[in-house]
Symmetry: C2
Subunit: 112 residues, 2 copies
């Protein structure tokens, strides 16, 4: 038998204690145009006036912690708690308004 092996892990393992200078990115799976990654935020935010404007769609799930996304043209920030997801189509300009630092904020992002 020569079966492809399953890899595995926990999104909640190896979290930092306290704030880090930068967000942590771990690619969990990747194939073709698709990429699945864990992001750990400890208070980081997108600088005021900056926007992400991406070439691909991004599905983002807040796994633990708390954060807010700002989407260009929307009056209110979208506050996110565990289990909340947002589907950001390509070129949907957005920024991370804030993230909880302790305990850290864990995201699962699917770029596809």
């Amino acid at each position: 038998m020569n079966m492809p092996a399953a890899s595995a892990g926990s999104l909640l393992a190896n979290l930092p204690n306290g704030s880090l200078a930068d967000e942590l990115f771990h690619i969990l799976a990747e194939k073709g145009d698709a990429r699945i990654e864990r992001i750990v935020s400890t208070g980081q935010a997108t600088p005021e006036g900056d926007w992400y404007d991406q070439e691909t769609d991004e599905f983002v799930l807040l796994v633990s912690g708390a954060a807010a996304l700002q989407i260009e043209g929307e009056a209110e920030e979208r506050e996110l708690g565990p289990g909340d997801w947002v589907m950001l189509p390509a070129h949907c300009r957005h920024r991370v308004a804030w993230t909880q630092s302790e305990p850290p904020t864990v995201w699962l992002a699917v770029h596809f």
Copy 2:
């Protein structure tokens, strides 16, 4: 301005009370060969001796609840709790050994 709109929701919303006859599937996003869906299990398992043998890769995250996966050729089931993920390559034969029914077990699956 004509920006693509962001859709959003919570994986933990609208969960059933008690056990259902079947698992619930909700497609959250879909593009090309990629599909992101929420699965809610309330005690379901793959019948003994049956195996999933899929044509595409599947990344699965246990969001809440508890479950166990059995992978063909492995001596032990893999018990999963919140935050645990498994990357199942195409044709990695597997079955769901059990799922917690109350509170329900919530999965995020990415087929790609």
